[in-house]
């Protein structure tokens, strides 16, 4: 039996200076934790505050074992003492609480009580509780690959383990064997919901007891020494074994969940007395005195010192600058890679045409040869001679190895979430993911995609997820609801994501190169019906680049403008040719290539020339990109229009599987031709 006195940390054996420093940190944290609601009462801010009282032991321990700039830490919204213990100052905490421009987490952009200091690897995390578990796994993957020598610590409440993405994270860390510690701070409640209504096991860590390569540690999160010993042991184990661990810390929640919750509505007085009885700070103070490791005078002096620190921090934070409203457009999307060789995204190369799929494969391989900090994963992307369902990544694993090109589990959210996390390890890393086998299967990743889309803005430009998300998109293959639909209309509403959708091999290669070299997120939609279609094959210069937001006039014309992208570009070109042959009407067909950002200039120039516009896309007319483009034209070129703006797209239905249904739903050359004719005759 191992006695407490034989462990690394204990009331008798721990150095007095360290004991008093812990007391100071705990007193500092609790003083701010107790004062935080006052800021809201005085209408100063901190409208979201989740008090940590009752979690003191484990939070102190997490912060103490964390080595800044070597380890990575993902605290959750209740982790105030964690970050104080890791070194953040009282002033930094209050700056975050009252959302000042100098808040190191987000400059007042993110919710209060979401503490971060990215320069120390204390990450800015979402309020979707527990979703950073996936980021932690991605960071741990990079930590292992680059032999960083540290660990990644992901902290969350026990109820957030109910989230499916947390399961995905722990499963992935177990199969990939990554150096990450998941800390579950178990206070028994998810807001007002008792933990028995979250999962059957009282200790949710037990749900993972069957996971291979994973070790589970338990501790009393209310007790400083037990928490310190277990966190220390867990870190040593993870470092030595390069495998993941869970630390399940039993805590109590002394106060309500947050300042919008009233726990007296669902907890009786007996329970509140019971948890208050085990106040970890009061216990620690008693222990210091009982075992004569500190005197009352010494502790009182620290109490007074902390009061003065917090008072001074409060004064300084109050006069700190507020965020400038003019700054709202800063850091929405990072500046992209700028092409000096092909600034207009055009070329005159006349070599042998490549199919679209060949162009993508060659570009990926060229970029991976050029930049060793590139990685690719997704479902089904690498097994012997197979490289994705359409073989876009064929032979990449053979050439670049399993550490850079590998299969992901069937967990779309995990694919995106770990891309986010891996990006956090270093800004030089570029990740390419196949977000799902088909774009229609990408919806489970929405949680991570949405979160990742605002990371750059939310962190006030301190973190840019540098990810190219490839998705085989669109119909005309008889794939039905899960293989033939489009998703760009829904996703273009998310600020922070670039969306490109090429129609030809050269543009696909050029846009992919630009995406991989750029910082930020690019949703790269590939018209799968065109992968091997000779219509989309073109000569492709080896170094071709297409800037974002630059359209390409695929067919010049004078009588009407056709704005399109992806599969329908080819249908529009066919329809334009028929129109010319049958009616001598000259239609200008513009391949937008890039939907976000959009080439407003080329659109306006064409509209001013023709006065008539039809917008064609495969996605639904209702809610499709065409609606935004039409609104833009009306606002900016209304006086040049000689006819209403017309649109052609899918019906407001899912795409049916039977080819008869698909044909009735998707645009085709005939529908486009008829609309162009109607427009011309108007």
């Amino acid at each position: 039996m191992k006695l407490r006195k034989d462990l690394k940390y204990g009331i008798k054996q721990t150095d007095k200076e360290l004991l008093l420093n812990w007391y100071k940190l705990m007193r500092l944290g609790r003083t701010i934790d107790d004062r935080a609601p006052n800021y809201l009462k005085q209408s100063i801010g901190w409208s979201y505050h989740a008090p940590y009282a009752g979690h003191d032991g484990i939070q102190l321990a997490i912060g103490q074992v964390f080595e800044k700039q070597k380890d990575h830490l993902y605290p959750y919204y209740r982790d105030m003492l964690t970050v104080i213990s890791a070194g953040m100052t009282a002033e930094e905490i209050i700056l975050n609480g009252i959302s000042k421009a100098t808040d190191p987490s987000s400059g007042g952009r993110h919710m209060s009580n979401h503490f971060a200091k990215p320069e120390w690897n204390i990450h800015n995390v979402s309020s979707c509780t527990g979703n950073h578990a996936q980021h932690a796994v991605g960071t741990a993957r990079a930590m292992k690959y680059y032999k960083g020598g540290g660990v990644v610590i992901s902290s969350q409440g026990e109820s957030s383990v109910s989230e499916g993405y947390v399961y995905e994270a722990i499963n992935g860390s177990s199969s990939e064997q990554l150096p990450v510690i998941f800390v579950f701070q178990d206070n028994g409640y998810g807001i007002s919901v008792p933990k028995k209504e979250q999962t059957a096991n009282r200790k949710v860590a037990d749900n993972f007891s069957g996971f291979k390569n994973l070790r589970i540690f338990y501790c009393n999160g209310k007790d400083v020494f037990d928490s310190m010993n277990v966190m220390y042991e867990a870190k040593q184990w993870v470092l030595e074994n390069q495998k993941p661990a869970i630390v399940h810390a039993n805590c109590v929640r002394i106060h309500s969940h947050s300042n919008s919750d009233r726990h007296e509505l669902y907890r009786d007085q007996a329970e509140l007395t019971y948890v208050a009885e085990y106040d970890p700070l009061a216990k620690y103070r008693r222990m210091l005195l009982r075992y004569e490791r500190a005197t009352e005078e010494e502790l009182t002096a620290i109490d007074e010192e902390v009061k003065a620190i917090v008072k001074e921090a409060h004064k300084r934070a109050l006069v700190a600058p507020d965020p400038d409203p003019k700054s709202i457009f800063d850091f929405v999307t990072p500046e992209p890679y700028v092409s000096t060789t092909y600034p207009t995204g055009l070329h005159s190369y006349n070599g042998t045409p490549l199919k679209l799929v060949e162009a993508l494969n060659q570009t990926l391989r060229a970029e991976f040869r050029r930049n060793p900090d590139t990685f690719l994963w997704g479902q089904d992307v690498a097994n012997k001679d197979k490289g994705g369902v359409f073989n876009v990544t064929k032979n990449m694993q053979k050439e670049f190895g399993r550490e850079r090109v590998f299969n992901a589990p069937i967990a779309e959210d995990y694919i995106v979430g770990t891309a986010n996390g891996m990006s956090r390890y270093s800004d030089t890393i570029r990740v390419v993911i196949e977000g799902a086998e088909f774009a229609d299967y990408f919806w489970p990743a929405m949680e991570q995609l949405v979160d990742t889309s605002h990371d750059y803005w939310r962190s006030n430009g301190k973190f840019s997820p540098n990810i190219t998300i490839r998705l085989a998109s669109g119909g005309y293959i008889g794939g039905g609801l899960y293989h033939s639909q489009n998703i760009e209309g829904a996703l273009i509403t998310l600020p922070g994501i670039r969306i490109v959708y090429p129609s030809f091999a050269d543009d696909a290669a050029g846009l992919l190169r630009t995406a991989i070299r750029s910082r930020g997120i690019t949703l790269f939609l590939e018209p799968k019906a065109l992968y091997n279609d000779p219509k989309a094959a073109t000569p492709v210069p080896d170094d071709f680049e297409v800037p974002f937001g630059v359209a390409r006039i695929r067919r010049p014309g004078t009588d009407l403008t056709v704005l399109t992208y992806g599969n329908t570009t080819h249908l529009c070109l066919d329809a334009a040719q028929q129109l010319e042959q049958q009616y001598q009407v000259s239609a200008e067909v513009i391949d937008l290539r890039s939907l976000m950002p959009l080439d407003y200039n080329t659109i306006l120039q064409s509209v001013k020339k023709t006065g008539k516009v039809v917008i064609v896309h495969e996605d639904k007319v209702i809610g499709g990109v065409g609606g935004e483009i039409a609104a833009f034209i009306i606002e900016n070129a209304f006086e040049y229009l000689d006819a209403p703006i017309m649109r052609v797209g899918s019906t407001f239905t899912p795409v049916g599987f039977n080819p008869i249904l698909e044909k009735a739903i998707l645009p085709d050359t005939e529908k486009i031709f008829n609309k162009m004719l109607e427009l011309w005759k108007y």
Binding site: L3, K5, N201, V252, Y278, Y291
Partner: protein, 167 residues
């Protein structure tokens, strides 16, 4: 029989009720000590002990004993007899039912003490308990939440057993 120390938290409710009952049933000399105010000097003079060790939270020692453990660890308890009773909840805390009884028993035994007052598991239904030793609990386990009506009978039987086992 030597003087017996009965140690429980004077601030407690259920543990104190049990202590009162034990005191009432005890024939010999018994000294009541407050677990919240325990020192080595107060603890050591006895040979026979009855300790109240209810389980807190998900299988933890109560505050009073938890804070005394660092002092306890330095003691030699050889020759001393310990009987432990503890409250638990076999329905809501079925995975760690009365764990604290077992945690305390382990420590006392390691320090040289002898545990007496084992009781049968019969009549209880739970998943796991650190208080379980084979087909017995290493003490008296009471469940106020679910089997309060059986408390009296269980206490009476246990006290009679202790009278025989204590020296």
């Amino acid at each position: 029989m030597n003087t017996t120390a009965l140690i429980y938290s004077f601030k407690s409710n259920k543990s104190a009720q049990v202590a009162e009952k034990i005191k009432e049933l005890w024939n010999g000399e018994i000294i009541l000590l407050d677990a919240d105010d325990l020192t080595v000097e107060k603890f050591m003079p006895f040979k026979n002990y009855i300790l109240s060790v209810p389980t807190w939270f998900d299988g933890e020692l109560p505050k009073s004993w938890d804070e005394f453990v660092p002092a306890l660890e330095d003691l030699n308890l050889k020759g001393k007899l310990f009987a432990i009773y503890g409250n638990g909840d076999q329905v809501n805390y079925s995975e760690n039912f009365a764990d604290a009884v077992g945690i305390m028993a382990d420590l006392l035994e390691f320090l040289g003490g002898k545990i007496v007052g084992y009781t049968s598991l019969e009549g209880y239904s739970f998943e796991k308990s650190k208080a379980q030793r084979g087909s017995q609990f290493c003490g008296l386990v009471l469940d106020f939440e679910n089997q309060a009506k059986q408390n009296n009978e269980r206490i009476v039987r246990w006290v009679e057993q202790l009278k025989k086992e204590f020296q």
